[in-house]
Structure formats: C-alpha cells, structure tokens
Symmetry: C2
Subunit: 743 residues, 2 copies
C-alpha cells in the first residue's frame, strides 16, 4: 500500500474541465451537413387497437422528407429474452408512449407539425397496471399471441408472466412451526425514472454503401452495436456506434430506443437524421425502474433468530420485456436480505402491464427488495421488542455461511460494518429530539467483472495513451489513468484515456453493473504491466543492466540507487521503433470474474413534522465496503450521489398513472432532490480487498442507492411510530397514517 504512487490518491476527474465549461459534446451537439430532425409519434392511449394510420397530410407538408410507420420497419422483434419488442407498434399499442410513426424534416418545428398531421384511429382496450393482478391466470392479456414468439423455452410462460423463478432452501413449513412469532407484511414500490440530466438523443447516418454510423448517448457502444446489428441483420463491420459524452445514464441508456428510428429515417432519406427526445418523450418511452409488490412472511424465535421466510415479489415489467436474463428469478434470491435464514421459499415474477417497458436503474431490483425486507426487519424487531441493531447483528451473514447471493470470502465482516455505522451515526450516543428518529438499513450488492480489452501505447515523447471502448459514466477513465500511471511509472498528467468508437476500439462491456473498474481496470492493468516489462527489457539492454536491478520513476528507467544511470521513455520509444520490435503498443484482454458481495449500511436521521407529515433528513451515514478505493474522491462522489438518488427514491420520486397514462412526465411535477433536500452525508469507506480485482477494488456505483429508502422508512417509524409500506414516503401518506392511528 505504502508503495502506491497513483492509485489510492484523491484525483480530480481528468475530463473535469471539459464538463464544467460546456465543451464536452453530447449527442445533441452533433450536427452534420444536410442533417434532418426526426420526431416520434407516441401513442396517447395505454392500450388500443390501431384501426388506421393516415400519414398523407404529414407527407405533403413542405420540409418533410420522410414519414415512416411499422410498414417501413424490419419485422424482427428485439429487446430481450423474449424478443417481443418492435420499432413501431403493429396492430395494437400497449402503453401510452409507444412509438407509432416517425417523421424526418428540415427543422424541428416542421417535424413537430408533421407529427400532429398524422391521423390515427384507435379502438380503446381495457388497461392493466397492477402486476399482482396481471399475474392472475384469468387476467387480461397484454400479449395475446406471445407464445408464438421466439422465447426462451425455460421461461415459465403463464398469462402475463414473462419471466420468474423460485428459490427453496431448508424446510419453510417446519421453520414456521418452530417459530415463536410470525410476521406477515406487504410492501409496494413505485415506478421511478432515472431522470438523467440529458434526455435520450441519437443521430444516424447511412453512407452510400449502406454502412450505418450511429451517434448516441449510450452506456455501452458495443452492446448497442450488437442490438442494432440484430435488428437490421447486418454484420458488425457495417455498423459503427459512436458513444458520445453522456449526461447520466443510471441504467436507462442501455437498450436501443430512438437509434433504430434514426437509422430507418436516414436509410429512407439518404441524409443524417437526429432525434433528441424532449423530457416528456423521455419519461414516456424509456425504461424506468420496475414498480413491484412484495409479500413477506417471516418466522422468528423470541431471541430474534430468523427461522423461516416465505416471500413473493411481483415486478411490473411494462408492455415489453427488456434485458436478456431472468430478472425476477434472479432478484427473488435476494429476499433474505444480508441475513442467514435457514428455511426459505421465495418466488419472483416479471409481469406484463400496460406501461412503458421497464429496465435497469442503478442496482436493479435491490432498492425495492431492500425497502421491503429492511422495513420488515424493523417490524419484526418492534414485534419482539428487540433492539433493531441487535436483531440485525444476530442474523448477519458470516463468512463460510451458505448464501444464495454468492460467496462472502471477499466480503467485509457485516457485524463490524454495522458497529461502524452505529458508531459513526451516534446511534446510541447522539440524543434525538421529539419527532426525530434514526433508522438503519443493511444491504448488499454484487459487483461483477466482465470481459474487457484496452490498448496502452507509448507515445513518441514518452507519454502514454490508453484507447478504450468503454463509456466514462462515473469517472472510470480517471481510474484507468491512475492504474496506468501506477503500473507504467509516469505521472498521471502524462496519461490520456480516450473512448474510441466501435470500429476502432477493442471490445468493451456496457458501463453498468458497477463493473468498469473491475473489468476494464483489469485489462488496462495487464496491458500496462506488459508495457512496463517491455520498457524494462529495452532499458536493461540499453543500460547494460539486469531487469531486476532497474526501477521506473516519472517516465525514466534507472539502475536502482544510481539515478544518473537512466534512460527516458522517449529514448526507449526510439530504440524500440527503430530496431527493437517497433513502437511499443500493447492490447490486453481479460475474462469475466465471479461477482463479489459487498455490504453497505446506511443510517438516516430524520425529523417529521407531525402537522404536515413533512420529512426533513438531518443526516445520512453510508458505510460501504469498497474493496480498495483507487480514487477515493470519485468513490466518495458515488456514495454521496447514490445516497442522494436513494433519498429521492425514498421520499419523493414517483411516476403517477391516471387512467393508464403517465400524469407527471416533467421535472416540474416529477420531483427529484435539489441541493436543498440533501442533508450532510457522511461516507465511510471500508477496504476489504476483493481477490481477482485490480488492487482489490469492488464495484461502488450501485451499492449506495440500495439501502437509503429503507433507512428513511425506519427512521420515520422511529420518529412517528407509523410504518409506511409503500414508496415514496410522502407527507400525505405519513399524515394519513398519523391520523389513522389517532382515530
């Protein structure tokens, strides 16, 4: 540790100046000669049969270059495991916001006008939004015909259930029989939007040979290329994706949205076409966090030992399935929380509803599960009359215990983390005023490492350049630069990191799942180590010394202890380029690694106004096992940002549907935390290194959002004695609960 020169340092993001001065170019900043503006016609109805589409008036409008509908689009379904998505609705619309048609015109106003000139006749159909009701065998079907799709044969297809699974462990009936107390509860969470500052925007240009170039605000250039290649049935060499600077993603910029439409319009017009969604369109037709219903039944001994749990989770997945994996089947495995429960039976269902297709949002599924499970733990403690800290510590997962969520070998000790959170929050020491309360929530997340590749090259002047295909969502380019600085032995200022497009960059994974530092960090470290070794060997020859007698400092190789016997990287470049193997450039690839489980504890202190139900968050403590903080400044930013987003999710954010239609698709009525809503956040990084990870780093972006809502719910309970069982924890609900208790 003491020997690190670059990693472990608090470093300002290397792209900070570009970002704060407005020079960073986002997707909407790109303009090409002859470019047209595209616009979507979105369904105003949540469920309807399309009787007729008349585009003739729109086509006749001066300045309109193309109007397209489902007839112009490939018939391939796409989008996930079930491939039930189409670019434009055919025959039916299944959510308010589903694209029906699109136009390309010479300016935005003309495109907008043309959209209004498209006449669509609908036959309205009944709507279903509640996932539990939609899961019933006799429910109205969102996709009457979907058994005809190319679906995964392993899927438990049933009515509207599009994926799901079960976990059984021990003997849950026996567990309940042995229990002194059984607590049964039901929790609900809302649909929430990622509300990134930059809405979706993309541009496509098709060249005369048919090759497609797409500019997009995407979290993953290569997965987007993959998806577009599938939709348009083209080889990867015929599609280039340029991931632009990204103004927030949080999981909401993974699936293709407007890119296929831009391509179709560009193919039809022969000109570049750009679509930038306005905020309303973005709310209506992107992929928010899945709302869910969780039913929990837990059997516990009088001393607090958890004995058995039966639980069900119903996710509303919206009208189409996003993602290629069994989401609900996977998430239901987490219904134990970070505790050991010997007997469990969990089931999970993703259920079609007449809403926009839901997708990934920072730690998908876990804030929902954690809100339910950690509220439930607090209820159990209350029923038992037990200290909620002691209940958690008693049942905390320990190394060596069998878990459904992965190995704990690399995890920090959960009891120690809880103690740390107790200490840092003054749980027992800082007195609370009336109407104040303190709540804790424990959570875990797993951070994976995907396959990755990076290229590290020595420039002619001895500086170092990294070429990567990954999108810098959270400061990961700075992290990669630190790793290269550390391993090659040059100052951080001498390292550049650049995202290149899919034609040019080595393949990179999507920037999601908190994986980039582990995935790309591993491959860039391997490349940097290889480059260092090359330089040492060149220098050994040049200095007539043994490699093991050499050391590197600031772009120079010296004989240890003889600083005057050295050679610069610049000279080594020339040596290599003229006669020793050519310019030193290394591309290295690494494979996926098993996920690590990392625990995060949050403690919230709140004050509730009994007259209004308003919640003021007084402070928030986040204790997180980060493995190793390569850039502590950046890790701190992730912890603060995650907790802030968790606070929004817990207290205020909610997509509200009236008659099946989203009623608040703007940031004025969809409130997210402002600086005034954010309390002091104390971030505590615990470093228990992960194996098979650069310097032991763990994924840190997602964990801090997971526990916040639950900690807030528990704090409100401690302050008021009322249990709010649905998110968000609004003043209305609190006031209603306080009044109900009075009555």
């Amino acid at each position: 540790m003491a020997s690190h020169t670059a990693v472990g340092q608090r470093v300002t993001r290397i792209d900070a100046a570009d970002r704060v001065t407005g020079r960073a170019r986002y997707a909407d900043d790109f303009r090409l000669p002859g470019m047209l503006y595209g616009k979507l016609l979105l369904s105003p109805l949540p469920h309807a049969r399309i009787r007729r589409i008349d585009t003739s008036r729109a086509e006749r409008l001066a300045g309109v270059k193309a109007v397209i509908t489902a007839q112009d689009a490939p018939e391939h379904r796409f989008g996930g495991l079930i491939k039930d998505r189409l670019i434009f609705a055919r025959e039916k619309v299944r959510y308010a916001g589903e694209p029906i048609a699109a136009v390309a015109a010479v300016d935005e106003a003309t495109a907008e006008e043309a959209i209004h000139l498209i006449a669509v006749e609908y036959e309205e159909l009944p709507v279903i939004l509640d996932p539990q009701k939609a899961a019933a065998p006799d429910a109205l079907l969102v996709h009457e015909e979907w058994e005809t799709y190319l679906a995964d044969p392993d899927l438990p297809r049933r009515g509207n259930i599009c994926n799901g699974g079960e976990v059984r462990f021990g003997d849950v009936e026996q567990g309940f029989r042995e229990a002194d107390l059984i607590v049964e509860e039901r929790y609900e969470t809302q649909m929430a939007h990622q509300a990134y500052i930059e809405p979706h925007a993309a541009m496509a240009a098709v060249d005369p040979s048919g090759k497609i170039t797409v500019w997009s605000t995407t979290q993953g250039q290569f997965p987007l290329r993959d998806a577009l290649a599938e939709i348009f049935a083209l080889p990867h060499t015929r599609i280039k994706v340029i991931g632009t600077e990204i103004g927030g993603g949080f999981g909401g910029k993974i699936a293709p949205t407007i890119e296929p439409v831009c391509i179709l319009l560009s193919q039809k017009t022969g000109r570049p076409v750009k679509i930038t969604m306005d905020r309303e369109e973005d709310f209506l037709d992107t992929t928010p966090r899945r709302p869910c219903i969780v039913e929990l039944k837990t059997g516990v001994k009088r001393d607090g030992t958890l004995l058995a749990r039966e639980a069900r989770i119903y996710f509303a997945t919206g009208a189409y399935a996003i993602g290629r994996y069994n989401f609900a089947g996977n998430v239901c495995r987490r219904l134990s929380g970070p505790y050991y429960i010997p007997n469990v039976h969990f089931s999970g269902y993703s259920v079609y509803t007449n809403q926009q297709p839901c997708g990934a949002f920072r730690a998908p599924g876990s804030p929902q599960v954690t809100f339910a499970c950690e509220s439930h733990m607090e209820s159990i403690a209350a029923h038992l009359g037990m200290d909620p800290i002691q209940l958690r510590k008693k049942n905390a997962l320990r190394k060596g215990q069998q878990t459904a969520i992965g190995s704990l070998d690399d995890s920090a000790d959960l009891v120690a983390l809880i103690d740390r959170a107790v200490e840092e929050s003054g749980w027992y020491s800082k007195p609370l005023a009336p109407n104040q309360g303190r709540g804790i929530a424990c959570s875990f997340w797993t951070s994976s490492a995907q396959a990755g590749s990076n290229t590290v090259k020595l420039n002619q002047d001895g500086t170092v350049a990294v070429t990567t295909g990954s999108i810098d969502l959270t400061g990961t380019h700075t992290t990669l630069a630190q790793i290269v600085s550390e391993e090659v032995g040059v100052d951080l200022q001498q390292v550049s990191v650049t995202t290149a497009d899919t034609d040019v960059a080595p393949v990179a994974p999507v920037s999601a799942g908190s994986n980039i530092t582990r995935s790309m960090g591993a491959s860039v470290k391997l490349a940097a180590e290889t480059l260092r070794q090359k330089l040492l060997e060149l220098a050994a020859d040049h200095l007539e010394a043994n490699v093991h007698d050499l050391e590197i400092r600031k772009g120079e190789v010296y004989v240890k202890g003889v600083p005057e016997r050295g050679v610069s990287f610049k000279t080594l470049y020339n040596l290599a380029a003229t006669s020793r193997g050519g310019p030193p450039v290394v591309t290295a690839s690494t494979t996926p690694q098993a996920p690590t489980v990392n625990f995060t504890i949050q403690v919230a202190t709140v004050e509730v106004d009994p007259e209004t139900g308003a919640v003021k968050v007084l402070d928030l403590v986040v204790v997180q096992d980060v493995g190793f903080a390569i850039n502590p400044l950046s890790v701190q930013g992730q912890m603060e940002g995650g907790a802030t987003q968790g606070l929004g999710y817990g207290l205020m954010e909610q997509m509200i549907f009236l008659n099946g239609k989203l009623s608040n698709p703007h940031l004025l009525d969809y409130k997210i935390p402002s600086a005034l809503d954010v309390p002091p956040i104390k971030t505590v990084m615990v470093e228990e290194p992960a194996s098979r990870s650069p310097y032991g780093a763990k994924g840190v972006g997602e964990p801090p959002i997971v526990a916040t809502a639950a900690a807030l719910a528990n704090a409100i309970y401690q302050a008021t004695g009322v249990r709010i069982s649905s998110l968000p924890l609004t003043p209305e609900k609190i006031l209603q609960a306080l009044q109900a208790r009075k009555e």
Copy 2:
C-alpha cells in the same frame, strides 16, 4: 501463389463508394459550433524588411475576433534540420507568399476584408532565385543570421548552402584520362507544384484545459503531432491530430502549414478556427518540387563503357529548409543513374533562394536527376553513334555490383526489364512516321519500410476490424484489408479498416516514400497471423483436435477434410470472451527494414508538330518491378497516375516567377494534364519479390513518375533531332531549338 485467396486479386477500393458519392469528409467539410474562419496575410514581396505592421483597422472591423502576427507566435523555429522556419515572418519576409499575419472572423468575407485592412510598410530588398548563383561565396544572403540557429553541426554551412554532400568513388581524373569521349552538359528543371485536387485545409480547437485538437488534410497524423508538439512545447497527450480524408498529397501534405496558425487563433479566441487555402494561397505558401541545375561530365569508351562522371546538382530549396535530412547530400548519390560507373565525383547542394520553401513531391529529387542523367545518356549514345538501348544495357547495374543507392539483391534484372520495355513498346518492330520519335528512360527508386503498428480485432459476430493510424492516400486500406482477409481467413467484405486519430490509433508512419504497404502491411500481417493462431488454438480445444489438423475458410475453423466438424469465429469469440483470455484483439508492431531498389523503365512515343513545336504523346509504356502486386488494380492505378503526373512535369507544369513573384498561381495558367492529354498507357508489372516485405511487395507509388520526363525528352530528340535541356519541354522551346538549328 496458387494458395492465395485475397492478396494478388484485383480489388475495388473499399472506400470507393464514399469517395465517388461525395460522402467522404475532407478537412473543409468539418464545422464546429462557434467556429471562426481564419485567413492569412501573405507577403506580396519576395524579399523585404518589414518596417511596421498596423493591425488596428482590421481589429476594429465588426466580426473580427482576432488578429495575430509574429508577436503572438512562439519564437521556436521549426521545420527541418536547421529549424529556420517561423510561423510568421519577423523583421524580414523572404518569399512572396510568406505569412505575416492572420485573422479569425465570423465568416470568410469578413476575414478577407480584415486581411486587406492590415497595413504593412516594407523596405524592398534584392532577390535571388538561381540556386547556382546563390551558392556562390559572395552571393546575397537569404539568411544573414542563420549561423546563430540550432543547426546540425555536420552541415556544410556556407553562404546560402543549407545542406549538401559529396560522393567520391574510384579515381575520376584517371577515368577521364582513359576515356575516348567526354560529354559535358547542363540541365535545368523547374519548380512544380503537387496540384492535389484538395488545397490545404485545417481546423483547430483548443479545449478549456488547453488540449489541442487539429483536423487536417495531412499525409501523416503522427509526424504532424510531433511537429506541433515541438512548436508549442506540449506533450503528445495534449495534442490530438485527426487526419481527414485527403484529396491528394503527393508529398505536399507532410510539413505543418496552416495548422500552427489555426491553433494560435483558436488559443486567442477560445473558439474553433478553420483555414481553407484558396488555390492561389496554396500555390504561394506550400512546398513544391525543388527546381535544380545539374552539371554533368561523363567519360566513356568508344564501345560505350562508362568510365567516369563528375556531376554537381544545385537545388533551390526556397527561403526555408523543409525536412530533417540532408536532401542534396542524399540525392547526389543517385547521379550515376541505374548504371555502373567505376569512377565518380558527385556533389549536391540545397541552396536558399527567395522562393517558397520546397519540399517532398512524389520521388523527391529523382525526376530531376533522371531527366538530366537519362537525357545525358541519350546524348552520349548520339555522340558515339550507338544504339541507346545497347548503351544502357551495356552499363546496366547488375546484382553483386557495388552501388551507392543500396543493395540490388532483391531487384529484378535491369537488362531483362529493358528488353521487356523494348518488346512491349515495339521499339524495333513498330515503325515510326515522320516527326515521330520513341524515347526510353531507365530509373530506379528505393522503397523503405518504416516502423508501424496496427490493431486487429475479432468482432462479436466473427467479422474483423483493423485500427490503423495511417492515412489512406492511395488505396492502402484496401491492401491492409486484403492482407487481413488472407491471413485470418475471412472474406474481404468481412474486414473493416479504419484510420483512428493520434490519441487512439497505434503510431503509424507518414504515408510517403511509398512505404505504407511494406510498413503497415508488415505489422497488420503480423497481427493477423497472431489472431489466426489464437483462433486455431481456441478451435483446437473446442473441437478436440490438433491445431495442425485444422484449416480456416470464410470465418469457420474446420478439421481438415471433415467440413462438418467446424466452429464459427462467432462461437470462438464467445468462448474467448467468456473464459479464454478475453476478447481476441491483437496489436502488433514491426521495425523499419532496409530499402529495396526497384527499377522502372519507360518508353514514350511522340509526334512533334514542326510548325508549332506541339508534342502529342502517342503512347507510354511503363515496365516496373513491383515485387508483388497485392492489389494489381491499385498498382496499375499508381503506375498510370505516376506516368500521367510525370507527363505533366515533362511537358507543361511550371511555376513561373516574374520579379521574384509567382505569376501563375492558379490551375488556369498552371496547366496539368487533362484526360485529353493522356495517351494510352501500357503498364507492365514485373514481380521480383522483396525479402522482409509482405508477400514480397515493393513500394509502387513513386517509381512511375521518375522516368517519364526523360523518356519524353529523348522521344522528342528522336523525333526532331533537338535536345531540350530544361523542363518543361514546351512547344516554345522546341520551336526555338528547331529554328536555331535551321539558322
């Protein structure tokens, strides 16, 4: 040979559709938000002291954002061995066209107007243009102070001589004493412009952190970055060069021209600045072919055996030296031509004159030397009354002979090539009408291989992408794609080749010196072979077979003879990415290789109108040792294009100076060949493979320009009996010579 699948095939350029449909984006096609238009004030005088520059009126003009002069520019001198160049003239101007100031304005008209508002007071100075006179010890000095510069200590600095050298071999006096005949002649060649279809254009943007991005129509991104880093004293990580599509270079787009000015204007205004030269500016301030004077004295035996030669060559290098090598010292070694002469004394001088700095132009120095030497050979044959073919064959260089130009080990047999040219042209068999003549010229060129790197990656779908830093000037990307197709085993349509910018691409050499196929071809071949080996090893494991029992065809690996036991590259990608080393991507580098000498013979048949002196070229035969033609279609294009450009150089192209000022800086009065001027060209490729070169390929771009002017001069001599000793071979000169002979 029979086993090749992709190399050796006639293949249409992979970028053909982009180029012919106008989609290819040249430097002037780039526009950035807020971009300003830059314009240069060029000196109207060839030599003058600058008394005063008043920019105040220009600065006050509405829409002008910056006016800069030498005061705003770094004082570093740059540009070559002697580093005598500045961005703007200080105190003195030394050629008509030298930049004095520049403006950036909101549009081109305003920039143009502002230039006219800059008032400069000059004190005119005498002018020197003749390099032989300028080389005299008492000549007027172009740089009175240049001994104070950072110059190469090995340079023979003397007056205006800025580089040069000598070659002595054998005993030239003794040789002359033994000669039966001594022929002494003097030849002169003109200044000629590359006249690429796209004038110089560049844009610079400086970001808030000070990082510079330059878009430029350059032949070499990395050398340009190197030069700009030197001028602005910045590390390479702080300058990014984006080489755009290029509309011809021919050596004229190597040195920085307007790029430093764009950078200065962008630094001053904080906005992107683009400069696109108009044709006149391009003629006045870029780097044309050096004019020269050659004095030759050759001693020969009656049987035609060459015994001794004394020769001097004076190049006018213009007012500043371009290039980092001893140009004249190097070129004078070629004054033997492709012949064995046992006793020689050659000297060469680059001499400052009051003209634009000269630079590289397709086979720098060689068309000049070849015009002189091959005209001289014809004169010697005439003096001896000897068949000029026999004279050449008698003295032709042979393998094993010591030469000043490099090893002949890899060269085709020169005598055989001459015989081939004789046969193909019908030298002895096709009769000539009156006023018709046939002329031959023999030439050589050396093609080198520089250090290069390329990255070859397997895409997720099994197609293959090449990332390169080299600029495709002549179809070399298609050649690289053929090599990868051949070595990896996929169809050419499954391979993409992309030039990435200097931040992102592996380092690449300048596309000049006919080196790319040898340099980048070697490194891409090494990368492709390594990728192939990886794929074979993956497949061997997967198929449970021995690597040696496998073969690859069209993106599939099979067990030989068992086509049903195969695995696709797509499957191998997945295998590698999930568990076997990560995504298959290979970067490979190679070192420079010794140059190969390749001979080219040209035969021209002409008809001269005795009334007007007009020359009609009836046909042209080009016999060239190409080593191995990876893409014969492309090689043929180079041979035809080179001979056509040689024809323009021989017959019509000339930059004409009146009072030291270029009088014909437009394509209307600087005539280059049109389709109507070009005769049928018969191209004959001889394939004598080069060692240490992919498939034996030799550089083919430069050789075909070298001999054309000499062949034409000799054909005119055969047709008319008059010897024109200066280029171009205009009707005026021919008519004058015919009339002089009559008198």
